[in-house]
C-alpha cells in the first residue's frame, strides 16, 4: 500500500488538470489581473457596440457639427440653437462637446473600436515576426547557410531594424506613407518585434545550454518535442510580458503619433487624436483632454495587468511556490 502511495499521489496531481486550467486557476487569484480582464471584456463589448451605434445603426453621430454648442462641459444639455435633427441621443452630452460642438461621447464610442484594433493588429504582427525570428535564431542558430550562420543572419537583420531609432523610423515612415490607419498599424507592428525576437533568442540560447535540454538531447528526443515541450513554455513568459507591454505600446504609440500630428486622419476618431486635439483646449475645456487621456490610461493599464497576471500564472516556478 505505502509503496503505491507516491505514484497515486503523482497521478492525482497530474491527471485531471490541463495546462490551461492550471493557468486559469492561478490567474483567477490575481485580483488586479482579473479587474483588468473585466475591463477588457467590457471594452471589447463597448468597441463593438460603438461600431454598431455610430456606423451601422446610427444612434450617436460622431460627425454632427453643432457650432452654437461648442465646448460644452460633460452632462450638459444642448442649447435651443441646435436644430431638432441634430440633438444628441438622450438629449445629453455625456462627455461634453468639442470645439466644433461634436458629441465627445459619440466620438469616444467610435474611437474605441479604432484604437483597440490598432493595438491588436500591431501586436499580432509584432509577435508573429518576433517569435519566429527569435526562435529560429536561438535554436537553429548554429546551422550554416553558405558561409553564414543562421543566427548571424537573423540577428544581423534584427540589428538592422533595431538600429533604426524606432520612433524616429515610425515618424519618417508615417510621414512618407499615405496617411491611413492600416499603415500606422503595420508600421507599429513592423518596428516593435525586435525585442521579442531578442528575448526569445536569448532565452533559447540559454535554455539550450541548460541541463534539462542537454539531457533531452542526450536521451535522443525528437527536435520538435524539445522545442515545443521543453523550450517554448520556458521561453514564453518573458514574451508574454513583452507582449502585454507591446499592446500598451501600440495604443500609446498611436496616441503619440496623433500628438505629433501624424496619427489617424480626421474623418476617423481615435482616442489618440481626440486627446491630441483636446490638448489645444486644455485651459478652456479640460474634459476634452482628460476623458480620452483617462480612457487610454485605463485600457492600456488593463492590458498590462492582464499580461502581468498571465505571466505569473504561466511561470511554472512561481506557480509552484504560490500554490
Amino acid at each position: 500500500m505505502t509503496a503505491h502511495a507516491p505514484i497515486l499521489e503523482a497521478e492525482r496531481l497530474a491527471a485531471p488538470e490541463t495546462p490551461f486550467q492550471q493557468v486559469w486557476r492561478t490567474f483567477r487569484k490575481d485580483r488586479l489581473a482579473m479587474a483588468g480582464l473585466y475591463v477588457l471584456i467590457g471594452l471589447v463589448a463597448l468597441a463593438l457596440l460603438g461600431k454598431l451605434l455610430t456606423e451601422w445603426w446610427v444612434v450617436f453621430d460622431p460627425a454632427a457639427v453643432r457650432l452654437p454648442d461648442k465646448l460644452r462641459p460633460p452632462f450638459s444639455t444642448p442649447s435651443a440653437a441646435v436644430p431638432a435633427a441634430q440633438l444628441p441621443a438622450f438629449g445629453v452630452y455625456f462627455f461634453g462637446t468639442d470645439e466644433l460642438g461634436r458629441n465627445v461621447f459619440a466620438r469616444m464610442l467610435q474611437g474605441s473600436f479604432v484604437s483597440l484594433s490598432v493595438g491588436f493588429v500591431a501586436v499580432s504582427i509584432s509577435l508573429a515576426i518576433g517569435i519566429t525570428i527569435g526562435g529560429l535564431a536561438g535554436f537553429y542558430g548554429h546551422r550554416k547557410w553558405g558561409p553564414f550562420s543562421i543566427d548571424g543572419l537573423l540577428m544581423r537583420f534584427t540589428d538592422v531594424v533595431l538600429c533604426f531609432p524606432t520612433f524616429f523610423l515610425i515618424l519618417t515612415v508615417v510621414a512618407l506613407l499615405p496617411p491611413s490607419i492600416y499603415n500606422i498599424m503595420a508600421v507599429i507592428g513592423l518596428t516593435s518585434w525586435m525585442s521579442t525576437a531578442r528575448f526569445v533568442r536569448a532565452e533559447f540560447l540559454s535554455l539550450r545550454e541548460r541541463d534539462f535540454v542537454v539531457a533531452a538531447h542526450a536521451l535522443g528526443l525528437p527536435e520538435w518535442r524539445i522545442i515545443f515541450r521543453h523550450m517554448v513554455p520556458n521561453a514564453l513568459s518573458p514574451v508574454f510580458v513583452s507582449a502585454s507591454i507591446d499592446v500598451a505600446y501600440a495604443i500609446l504609440t498611436e496616441s503619440a503619433l496623433s500628438f505629433l500630428g501624424f496619427g489617424v486622419r480626421p474623418p476617423l476618431a481615435t482616442w489618440g487624436n481626440i486627446l491630441a486635439d483636446g490638448r489645444d483646449f486644455i485651459f478652456d475645456a479640460p474634459w476634452l483632454f482628460a476623458i480620452p487621456g483617462s480612457a487610454i490610461l485605463i485600457v492600456v493599464l488593463a492590458f498590462n495587468l492582464v499580461g502581468e497576471g498571465l505571466r505569473d500564472a504561466m511561470n511554472p516556478k512561481l506557480r509552484k511556490r504560490s500554490s
Binding site: L67, P179, P266
Partner: protein
C-alpha cells in the same frame, strides 16, 4: 547594509537637489525686479522654425517680416493706411522711355515702307499738330537709336529625356532694328494706340519675329516660341522709376548706403545662382542704373504699374555680398576649391550675420530657438525704445501660451479661443492684426462637376460662413466675398457675400441638373455627386472649415470625403500639381498689391503656378492685364473693383473670411509718450487703419505698471 542605504539615499538626494531649484525661478510678476533690463527687452514668439536670415533667399514669412521691418529696410514701405510711403528712398519719380522699332516690312498708313526719317517726321508732325490726344504734352524729346545686337538669356522649362521638366537657360542674340526713342515725363500706356492712329493701324500689331533671334542652341527654339512675342515688340514701353535715397543712411557696419546697393539688390534677386523665391517680382525689370551716389534709375521692359510695390523688398549691402566680398569670405573661411565654387549668397556667412540699415542690429541666431536683435543706436530715423528684441521659435500655440503666462514671451499671435480668454482678463490686451490673409475653399475647375458656376455658388451658399467666424474664430475674422483685401480701395465696397441658404443651394443644384435619387443623394446623368476636400494638417481653422463644409454638403446629398495631409505632401502631391477636387487654403501677403495676375490669370494654371484651381475667364484675363498696365490710380481702382465683382460673381472660390489674428500682450507693454519735460507716459497701443499692430512698434516699451485704460 551600506549598499541598501546608498540605494535609498541617492534618489532622495537627487530629487531634493532638482526640486529646490523651483524657488529660484523668475515669474511674470517678478521678472522686472531682479533684472530691470528685462523691461527693455521684447520677446515675440512664432510657430515654426527660421531658415535663413537673408531676405534674398528667404521664404519664411514670419522671420522675414521680422527681418524686413527691423533689420532690413526697403526703398518704400506701407504706411498706416496701407499706402506706399517713403523709407530709404526720400522720393521717387516715374517717367518713360518708349521705343518704336523701324520695320521696313511694315507699311505706314499711306502704304509707304517705314524708314527712320519718315517715322521721325510723322511723329514730330503729330506732336506739333496735337494729334495724340494730349499725350504730346508728355513727350520731352525723341531721337534715333541705332540698331544693335542684344544678348539675351531666358529661362524656359524643357523636358529632359525622362520627360521631366527642367529649367534651361536659352542664350541668344536679338537683332534689334533701328528705333525711335521717345522720352516721356510720365508713363503713357496709350502711347502706341495714339501713335497707331498716325502711323497706321497695323504698325504695332504683335508678331513673333523668329528671324530676329539667333539661338546658341537652335533646338531650343521650340520651347522658346511662346515667349517670343514678349521678347521683341514693335512698340516698347520702358517705364522708369527713379529713386532718390535718403542721405546719411549707414549700414550696421558703418558703410554708407548708396545707389550701388539698390542695383546690387536687384541683381541678387534675379541671379539664377541665388534661386531667390522672390525673383519673379523683379523679372520685368530691364536695367537698374546708378545715376549718382544717391540716385538709382530702374527701367522696366514693359508696362507694369505695381512696380513700386516690389521695392518694399529689403535692400541688401553690396559690400558684404558681391563677388569681392564672397572672395574675401573664401579666404577667411579657408574653403576648399570645391566649396569655393559652391559659395554664393545662398550659403554665405551673411545669412547668419546679416547687416541691414534698420532700427535693430542682428546679434545672434540659434536655429530652432530664437533670433536676437539689439537696438541700432546710429539709426537714421527714430530709434526704437526697446534695447533687445527676441523672436522665439515655439512649436505650438499651447506652448506659446504657457510661455506667455510665465512671462517668457511678451507678445504672440494667439489662437481665437485663447484670445477670447485674454479679452476677459484685465492684465492683458488683445489687438487684432489684420494682414489681408483670407481663407477660401477652391474648386478645381478642370473637373466637369465644378465647371458650372451655379454648382460652385450652391456649394458656397450651403456654408454658414458667419457661423464659422462667430464660433470657430470666436469673432476674430471678417466676412469676405472677393479676392481684394477689404480695407484697400481695390475692394468693391458694394460687394455682398453669398447668403447662407441651403434651400437656395438645393434649387440651384437642381437647376444645374443635379437631382436627388431614391437614396437622397444628388446625381446627374446617373452619376453621383462626390468629391474629396483636402487641406494641410496642423491648422485647426482649416480643419474646422473642412469638417463644417463636409457636414453642410453631406446634408445637401453630396458624397463628400475629407482628408488632411502633412504640409509638404499636401503641396507637392495636391496643390502644386493641381491634383485635387476641392481644397481649403489661404492666400496672404499681397494685401497692398492690385495685381492679381499670378492667382487668377488663365496662363498661370500649370504645375507650380498659383492658379491651382484652373480658373479661366477671358473677361478676368483682360481686366488683370489692364490693371497691370494702368497707371492712373482712380482708373486702376475702377478696374480692380470690376475684377473683384467679376470673380465674386464667378465664385471660383468660396471666400470665407479675412483673418484678424489677435496679438495678445501684457498690458504693461505700451507706447512711450514724452511730455515737454521729457517725462514718460505709457499710452495704450492701438491698431492703425492698415491693421498692422506692429506699425508703431518702435515707440513701444514695457512699463513696470500698466497704463490707465483709455476707455
Amino acid at each position: 547594509m551600506s549598499t541598501k542605504r546608498l540605494l535609498l539615499a541617492l534618489p532622495v538626494a537627487i530629487l531634493a537637489l532638482l526640486l529646490q531649484s523651483a524657488l529660484w525661478v523668475p515669474t511674470l510678476a517678478s521678472q522686472g525686479d531682479a533684472t530691470p533690463r528685462r523691461l527693455r527687452t521684447f520677446v515675440k514668439a512664432q510657430v515654426g522654425d527660421t531658415k535663413r536670415l537673408n531676405p534674398i533667399v528667404n521664404s519664411d514669412y514670419d522671420a522675414d517680416m521680422l527681418m524686413r521691418s527691423n533689420v532690413f529696410e526697403g526703398l518704400v514701405w506701407p504706411d498706416e493706411n496701407l499706402k506706399v510711403a517713403p523709407k530709404l528712398a526720400d522720393r521717387w519719380e516715374t517717367s518713360e522711355d518708349a521705343y518704336v522699332a523701324i520695320l521696313p516690312e511694315r507699311r505706314l498708313a499711306d502704304g509707304k515702307a517705314a524708314t527712320a526719317a519718315l517715322l521721325l517726321e510723322r511723329i514730330q508732325d503729330a506732336r506739333q499738330r496735337a494729334l495724340l490726344g494730349g499725350l504730346e504734352r508728355s513727350i520731352e524729346g525723341m531721337e534715333l537709336v541705332p540698331s544693335e545686337e542684344r544678348a539675351l538669356t531666358e529661362t524656359v522649362l524643357i523636358k529632359n529625356e525622362k520627360g521631366k521638366e527642367e529649367p534651361a537657360d536659352v542664350e541668344m542674340t536679338l537683332r534689334v532694328p533701328e528705333r525711335v526713342r521717345l522720352r516721356l515725363s510720365k508713363v503713357e500706356p496709350d502711347l502706341f494706340e495714339r501713335l497707331a492712329e498716325v502711323l497706321g493701324k497695323d504698325y504695332f500689331a504683335p508678331g513673333a519675329f523668329p528671324e530676329r533671334f539667333t539661338l546658341k542652341k537652335p533646338e531650343q527654339l521650340q520651347a522658346l516660341r511662346p515667349k517670343l512675342p514678349d521678347l521683341f515688340t514693335v512698340g516698347e514701353h520702358n517705364p522708369i522709376l527713379t529713386f532718390h535715397l535718403h542721405p546719411g543712411v549707414r549700414w550696421h557696419d558703418g558703410v554708407p548706403l548708396t545707389a550701388e546697393d539698390v542695383k546690387f539688390t536687384y541683381e541678387a534677386f534675379i541671379d539664377p545662382k541665388n534661386a531667390s523665391p522672390q525673383a519673379g517680382s523683379f523679372r520685368s525689370i530691364k536695367s537698374v542704373e546708378v545715376i549718382d551716389e544717391l540716385t538709382a534709375r530702374i527701367t522696366y521692359r514693359r508696362l507694369y504699374s505695381p512696380a513700386i510695390i516690389d521695392w518694399m523688398e529689403p535692400l541688401v549691402p553690396k559690400h558684404a555680398l558681391d563677388d569681392g566680398a564672397l572672395k574675401r569670405e573664401m579666404e577667411r573661411r579657408h574653403l576648399s576649391p570645391d566649396e569655393r565654387t559652391k559659395l554664393s549668397l545662398r550659403n554665405s556667412d551673411f545669412n547668419r550675420n546679416p547687416i541691414g540699415t534698420g532700427p535693430f542690429k542682428f546679434v545672434e541666431w540659434q536655429p530652432g530657438q530664437f533670433i536676437h536683435l539689439a537696438r541700432n543706436d546710429h539709426y537714421w530715423g527714430q530709434p526704437p525704445e526697446y534695447q533687445d528684441f527676441f523672436l522665439r521659435n515655439i512649436s505650438d500655440y499651447l506652448s506659446m501660451e504657457l510661455e506667455f503666462r510665465a512671462g517668457a514671451v511678451d507678445m504672440y499671435l494667439a489662437q481665437p479661443h485663447q484670445a477670447a480668454r485674454y479679452r476677459a482678463d484685465s492684465r492683458y490686451h488683445v489687438l487684432p492684426n489684420n494682414d489681408g490673409n483670407y481663407a477660401y475653399i477652391g474648386y478645381n475647375e478642370r473637373l466637369p462637376m465644378f465647371q458650372d458656376r451655379r454648382v460652385r455658388k450652391a456649394l458656397g451658399m450651403a456654408i454658414d460662413a458667419d457661423a464659422i467666424i462667430a464660433y470657430v474664430l470666436s469673432g476674430e475674422g471678417k466676412r469676405c466675398a472677393g479676392p481684394y483685401y477689404s480695407i484697400t480701395p481695390y475692394h468693391d465696397p458694394d460687394l455682398k457675400p453669398l447668403p447662407y441658404d441651403p434651400q437656395g443651394a438645393l434649387s440651384l443644384l437642381e437647376e444645374a441638373g443635379w437631382h436627388k435619387n431614391a437614396a437622397g443623394k444628388l446625381e446627374k446623368d446617373g452619376k453621383p455627386f462626390a468629391f474629396t476636400v483636402v487641406t494641410n494638417a496642423g491648422n485647426q481653422m482649416r480643419k474646422a472649415i473642412m469638417i463644417i463644409a463636409q457636414q453642410a454638403w453631406l446634408a445637401l446629398g453630396i458624397d463628400v470625403k475629407i482628408q488632411d495631409f502633412e504640409w509638404t505632401v499636401f503641396l507637392e502631391d495636391f496643390v502644386e500639381t493641381n491634383h485635387f477636387d476641392a481644397v481649403v487654403m489661404a492666400w496672404g501677403g499681397g494685401a497692398i498689391n492690385p495685381d492679381q495676375f499670378p492667382i487668377w490669370h488663365s496662363s498661370q494654371t500649370h504645375h507650380y503656378e498659383s492658379n491651382h484651381i484652373g480658373y479661366q475667364s477671358a473677361a478676368a484675363d483682360e481686366l488683370i492685364m489692364k490693371i497691370r498696365t494702368t497707371y492712373d490710380e482712380q482708373e486702376q481702382i475702377k478696374l480692380t473693383r470690376q475684377l473683384d465683382r467679376l470673380i465674386a460673381e464667378d465664385h471660383p472660390y468660396t471666400f470665407i473670411y479675412e483673418r484678424q489674428v489677435p496679438y495678445v500682450y501684457d498690458r504693461r507693454t505700451a507706447i512711450v509718450e514724452r511730455d515737454a519735460q521729457g517725462v514718460e507716459h505709457p499710452k495704450e497701443i492701438e491698431v492703425p487703419p492698415s491693421g498692422d499692430v506692429l506699425h508703431s512698434f518702435r515707440t513701444w516699451r514695457k512699463f513696470s505698471n500698466a497704463p490707465e485704460p483709455l476707455r
